[in-house]
Symmetry: C2
Subunit: 320 residues, 2 copies
């Protein structure tokens, strides 16, 4: 048996125990389909629930089986988006950042398995007891939204709980995994597989401004920061506990320690940030990438990224 | 060859690629000697440089080869402490939290190898170019002082730099490693070994108040926080970039978001905190432990901890 054959590959019929993260705006149908085609499971980033965008991206994925993720708290006022996604018969519904309970029930009624991403041990226990088939334990090193626990301790702590309380639940590690070393390490920590964001963000299929990719390629993980300034600039009502990891830039330098000042100038700064995002002006708009930026040196096709990761992990685990 | 035989075990003549962390106040000679006796390398926690304490603990270690660590910035005004340590012919001098350059030169003049713990990629490069024999890449999940980068990404980023620029330098992972899963994962990420703090803090030989151990045993990693409040309460002039991970308690709840208020009440609060530390009152004095608290369920002799970690890692890596 191949060393990368795990409970996760068996459950979802995959060649490799790898999900691509449903990154808001970046993970379209093309990326998700490429990851699924190459042997993982690709997830479309349904994000805040733009129904037309989601429709377009399921079309872009074609007839390839993919999953779709949403930001849970943003679905509270538009549960119809979850119904829309479930109507596409996705391989899985992915939920993160909010109480998943009601949406898990909704998905199970349509026989769609649920992947719940959590950032704390407490939330992991809740998601397990709500019946999620897969828990993704996401560490603070991840790009985009998250919290403060680290992958290295959150994964084994959740693994122990699953072992003792819900042995049928599967576990993935997320946050900081960008190569075969990370996949091999995650399996050692007790995960059945991994969810990879930043490395697929830096793929040919992701929807990312080229100037943001350029900025990430030369950055060390030192040059990232968890902040709320970009959510304030975008007028997104993220619960306070969640921050987002981005590349530090002039905008974070100016406002990270002055959130009150940013709120006072929100109209002006929001316009500046939005315009900069369109232009790929990385000194104002923030590049959403994790600490793994320091491990990423090239933009590659998603299939090549996935097979490189798998090959390296197999070699490290001594079976190739 | 045993799977736990690495460049680190060869360099220091160890059975296992494991250092015990030189934790201030907790890592005395008894713990360091127990770790060395069991096949790792034990490090005395020289901390802020109390010369009598250091003398006593080298005596307590007996004729067993151990190393000794200090807080680098605190040695700036008392370099004689480093001379005192070097006179004991330690197996290694361990430096963390400050520019190691001058002390590395001092150690090398006496043929003592140097282990430099760093918290950022930038500092890793500096320590490598200063000639440290071993770099310890410490992630934010660690207990006690540290910064914000995570073990999962810092280790491979430094490993890549070493590979390309200083292949003779050795690398250890620190932060979040408390069992064989962590050791195996660290080796997968590219480390030659690990530095373990919290798990040895919860050993029979460590110098820790029993009430603090009790508090840690029941805590999840969720219940830890990085803060500066205990350094303000102790009147220690830590550079702002370093915070310490401790168990959340009434004291962090009251002051973590009100450092100015704490400074205004420093005299009174310092007295309260110090008294609570002596009594083991964990609602005021903070318990210094990492996110790995969620993986620690018992107090054991250090030798048993070390052999359990090694056995589990060997089993996971498929050679036992």
């Amino acid at each position: 048996m191949n060393v990368l054959t795990t409970r996760l590959t068996e459950k979802f019929g995959l060649k490799y125990p790898v999900f691509s993260a449903p990154m808001a705006f970046a993970s379209g149908g093309k990326l998700a389909a490429a990851v699924t085609n190459a042997g993982g499971l690709g997830l479309i980033g349904g994000a805040y629930g733009d129904q037309q965008w989601i429709e377009n991206e399921f079309q872009a994925a074609g007839n390839i089986g993919v999953g779709c993720g949403v930001i849970t708290w943003a679905m509270k006022d538009k549960p119809e988006v979850v119904d829309q996604i479930l109507d596409h018969k996705p391989k899985a519904l992915f939920l993160s950042f909010g109480d998943p309970k009601d949406f898990i029930e909704k998905a199970h009624k349509k026989d769609v398995p649920v992947i719940c991403q959590v950032q704390t041990f407490k939330d992991a226990k809740h998601a397990i007891h709500c019946g999620a088939e897969v828990i993704v334990a996401q560490g603070a090193e991840a790009g985009g939204h998250g919290e403060s626990r680290s992958t290295f301790t959150l994964v084994p702590e959740v693994a122990d709980y699953i072992c003792g309380n819900a042995p049928e639940t599967l576990l993935c590690a997320a946050g900081g995994i960008a190569d075969g070393r990370g996949l091999a390490a995650a399996l050692m920590l007790g995960a059945d597989g991994v969810l990879i964001g930043s490395r697929f963000w830096a793929s040919e299929e992701a929807i990312v401004h080229s100037k943001m990719l350029d900025a990430a390629l030369v950055a060390s993980g030192d040059e990232t920061i968890r902040s709320s300034v970009m959510d304030i600039a975008r007028r997104l009502n993220w619960p306070e506990r969640y921050t987002a990891r981005v590349l530090k830039n002039g905008f974070t330098h100016q406002w990270h320690h002055d959130l009150d000042g940013l709120l006072e100038n929100q109209d002006e700064q929001a316009d500046l940030w939005r315009a900069a995002w369109q232009e790929g002006n990385t000194d104002v708009a923030n590049t959403f990438v994790g600490e793994a930026a320091g491990l990423i040196n090239s933009i590659e096709p998603a299939a090549k990224i996935l097979t490189s990761i798998a090959d390296e992990a197999e070699r490290l685990l001594g079976r190739k």
